[in-house]
Symmetry: C4
Subunit: 380 residues, 4 copies
């Protein structure tokens, strides 16, 4: 049983991938279904005669989510394999249960367990808890963590940009208030004008509050232009920070993989960091075709883990961790001479032709190795 | 006949360009016209007494599109000249007919052929098929392929960003539902509030659903600001991925051309990749003026294929594949000393002055060749 | 008393940080509260029976802001410690009082002092002065200075882009005026059409003015598409200029810190400028944990000022200005081997692993020093 | 008289700058005023009793614009000083009069001349010609030329992106037509639905056409999200192309100046191109302060033309074309040791500290010259 839980929930291993993926898909489906039902339930009598079917589906989903929570508690109690013994048991359980993901998992099923056992919830609490279940999805997407990291990293410029927007909104609202308050009831108070200012500056423009005097319209025109220009500031700061953070995470995961490739094993830290910035990690499931004979070749691959097989007109060759392939198309500018298929789930590092120049420019000895291999393979 | 089909439809050759361009223009016109008529036809009695003229034009266009489909079937049957014989005939025909472009071509004319022969379509089917004809245009624009490649490449960050937006939308809708449901019929259910949330977050802001309480307006203000900031994420990820993908395609096509220039022929793969990232491919039709005497010169050109002639005050010189020109303006910072005209459709590689520094910085021996040539030409 | 003022208001010192932060927070709270009350006061009878409490709070806030102004006057009279004596006293006082921040500080309290002493203000003047108080916040945010610098730096492209938008707006308005003036009273004059053009081009789209003829709608569609494309120009110019200016400011502050680290002391100006572009300044308050044992290490730190302590399983080591730490994780790709805590407020320079490659690529002798230190520390 | 015309209209010279600037300001004012009057004139009886004053001002402005046209014709007849004699006279006159600027200048005054002499125009023609006058401003802004160059340069990706948007719009309109045509008169025909699709995809969102069924709202939500994502494509392509084109123009003008500085005179073409990409051209009018004693110094300057004077505590030194200044702050990281003022209009090249590292990294011999000079100046 413990092994099953480990198999279903543990991350990052290459074996038993399909079972894990299926379980994960099932849990995500339950979350989406359960949240969807909670949202649609607020429409009176929406289900009609399907009501009982929906109720059964909802309860089935929640039973599975409850099981998932129990599994995760057990997994946390068991601890990770490379943890020291004193870190496991109650300590690792507490760490999980009080961490954000543990809380999300708990909140997702707690009201259901409550309703099943002790007391029924009010319809409103039912709706809220049903929708909050959505947060459990956060575990399956790095997006929120990355966004949070980006916001923290760019906090100062972001706050600066929002401060400018706030000043603009207050100034626009005050001016509009004095321009139109006597003739337009929508601008009778500064808070009313602030509502207009924000809806205009964000370019939402509902149109429920619109100036009616000439001066008001001129002012509004300037505010609309300024708003469009100014709101590019926080938006572009956030977009840049987000993509920067994603790049950093990709780099970190590549960095840890590069040293596992024998070819780069003897390099010092600075060189590995440079190579890591040129390579891109890539996971291929079993059976995937990585390169196809006859295609234009615009990248080569280093194998970190797993196994692939190269199907050439002259036979089938096995490629193992530490090998590389796809170099012929880069060096000779030929189309692909073989089709390479993963015979088990594999971890590759991709080197695109655009980065190839920087790669061999700095490490000409690597180019020699690659060319030698390409020549040998072509002669076969 | 087969030769004519090859001339009209085949890509990438330098000869017979005008005939091909004319045919292509005619087909595009037929597609646009046919789609336009299908769209406008949904307005009752729009054509008035021009009805019969429009009908005739529509049928003429569809006849030409049918011919185009027949031509393409024949071309597919013939196969490409560098295909092996067993790849041609039925196999290459099937490959075309079941590929996306083959299906688009078929769908564009199928309802017309059906209507002409067997049975008339309902007006709705007529409209749908007429509009779907638009997709045939995809063949003439790389945009959709590039967008698809960009979406696949950036799938993870894109999904992450959209997930954040989805959480934001659900959270905003739930909060607004509890804030206004009792006083504002537009927020009576969570799905109603979701409609408001999405229209606000995307800054579309129709204004058909607007909060009326103070708390609702404050909430709305925050949602509008957050939405503007958050939607920059997927938009900028997509924009970056799209331009990245376009750059990659440009690089690939340049890369294949660079090795054809004798000057770069002896270089190794990494150097060619580097030079390819500095040059930009450029096709000039016959008769086009590439540089004009007396202009400020900010780039030089390498000839990959075709032929040009340099008209200088001292005579006319012919430039052939492998030659380069425009180097005098770069090395001597003179205005152009000659007018260079393409005497046949030519393929050039452009080196802009901004990239010239990197170019000669790495390959000083190339600078020597270029300066030598410039000196000789100036002495003439 | 003078010492207290210096402590509360002076910038950039490492001691007495908490007292200063608390005072700053109090002042910002007073500004926000006072502005907020002025805004909400325009709603008749909003406070109800809390009126007197709000009044008392408002007066308390203004008394504190008045004190702040007096403190700042006194501080300006005292001058900075490194000023020459003749620069202090009346000259430095005048410089402060007539500078933008001095004027903002004065405007924030002047109407209050006037009302308390001489004459009551009209409600409108009260509102205006209350809201203008907001500007005093500018002192606490570099945003406005940065924006102003960015606007000045990018003035030409910005003006160019806005000029294009202006031409577009005038052209769109003129065309729409001639298209709809006879049938749609909203387009009866060109200024009316200009209102529509600006609201459409900025994508605000209130919907109060909408074309009703087919030609008008076609024109409007083109204007909407063009507007979206064109307004990206000023918005992206401003966003780029803003982030460029922030980068410049960060670089300048790093540049001044780098030479204080003994390791870089012997380098020449160009090298220091290069290293400064790789490092990022970081201030840590007392008690902050900079790196935590067992974490993945993706940066190392140089200490410019302050003091930290490294808590390892083998004892506690003190780190002082000029030392560096965190290098083991970078060189050996281990998790962190120690927890480092600031024992006083410290100024660090962070080197991220992404920049590490460029750093050691150019200065291999620095890598030797860093590796040597890492080896010694690991042997302990 | 010819000399006066040359002085008023000729570009790029360093002398008589103020007179030219004043004349240019006057012409721009006349254009703006004349266009403004034409726009406001469409409002009936707007001027009231100021009608005659406005008429007089309008005529005065048009007289001046007519004079400007005559001046420009004369200047074109005279030709440029470095033109060969046979290029002047009638040939250069025709070149101007039939070029875009000549036509704009003509159109700006032609209707006025017509009205004054032969026949009165209809009010509509009056309005159109009055507003078209705006185009004459194009001469004073490089924006339109740059935009046109950017559009041509990025034509393919731009067309690709707009094609995607067009497909999206047609697809959305067709789907919405079939979803709502029976219940919502706003979607009775596909062209009606296209109007909704474009206004939604551009996020303008007037709100005059909104779906009312649940399916329609779901479809609309997807369209709004897709639209926001997709429209980032053309907008960012255009923004990138525009800033790229501005950068190219700046580079070209710097490139022509660099070789005039003796220090860089002996360098070869590739090196000059590299230095040009690090420097930024800067024009300072007479009397302008370039650096101020005591400021933080973040750039140094090379003098291309003109003359400046350095006011130090030890005396006043004259700086001439070929000299450089501001290097002390860069090399020694001191505040500025002198105030430098332009004694005539000067052309400088600025080197920012951020680019200084690349500059001296590649050309260490330049650093030696700069440091030597800095040392000598400090010893004085």
């Amino acid at each position: 049983m413990d092994d099953l839980i480990r198999t279903l929930l543990a991350d990052g291993e290459l074996a038993q991938f399909r079972l894990r993926a299926a379980y994960r898909g099932l849990v995500i489906l339950c979350i989406l279904g359960s949240t969807g039902i909670a949202i649609v339930d607020t429409v009176p009598d929406i289900w009609g005669r399907w009501q009982s079917l929906v109720d059964v589906l909802d309860i089935l989903g929640l039973v599975l989510l409850s099981l998932d929570y129990v599994f995760r508690l057990r997994l946390a109690w068991l601890g990770k394999e490379d943890d020291e013994p004193e870190q496991r048991g109650f300590r690792s359980l507490r760490k999980y249960a009080l961490g954000p993901y543990g809380i999300f998992d708990f909140v997702a099923v707690f009201p259901f367990l409550l309703e099943m056992t002790v007391l029924p919830l009010s319809p409103d609490a039912h709706t809220v808890f049903g929708i909050v279940r959505f947060l459990k999805l956060a575990r399956y997407s790095p997006a929120i963590e990355i966004l949070a990291a980006a916001v923290i990293e760019e906090l100062k410029p972001l706050a600066s940009a929002l401060f400018i927007v706030a000043i603009l909104a207050v100034a626009a609202a005050t001016l509009m208030y004095f321009t139109e308050r006597t003739v337009n009831e929508h601008f009778a108070t500064v808070p009313d004008a602030l509502w207009w200012a924000i809806i205009t500056l964000t370019t939402v423009g509902y149109g429920d509050v619109v100036p009616i005097t000439v001066m008001g319209k001129i002012l509004n025109s300037f505010v609309a232009v300024l708003g469009l220009c100014m709101f590019a500031l926080p938006a572009s700061i956030l977009a840049t920070g987000f993509s920067e953070e994603m790049r950093r995470r990709n780099f970190m995961s590549t960095w840890n993989l590069v040293a596992k490739v024998p070819m780069f094993g003897s390099m010092h830290a600075g060189q590995i960091a440079e190579i890591a910035s040129l390579l891109r990690p890539m996971r291929v499931p079993r059976g995937d075709i990585v390169v196809r004979e006859g295609d234009v070749g615009d990248s080569m691959y280093f194998i970190v883990a797993g196994q692939l097989e190269a199907r050439t007109p002259h036979g089938i060759f096995t490629l193992r961790a530490g090998d590389f392939f796809g170099e012929i198309a880069m060096v000779e500018r030929n189309p692909r001479t073989a089709t390479v298929v993963a015979t088990m789930r594999s971890q590759l590092l991709e080197l695109q032709v655009l980065d190839f120049q920087r790669f061999v420019g700095r490490y000409p000895e690597l180019l020699d190795v690659i060319r030698e291999t390409a020549k040998n393979r072509l002669q076969q």
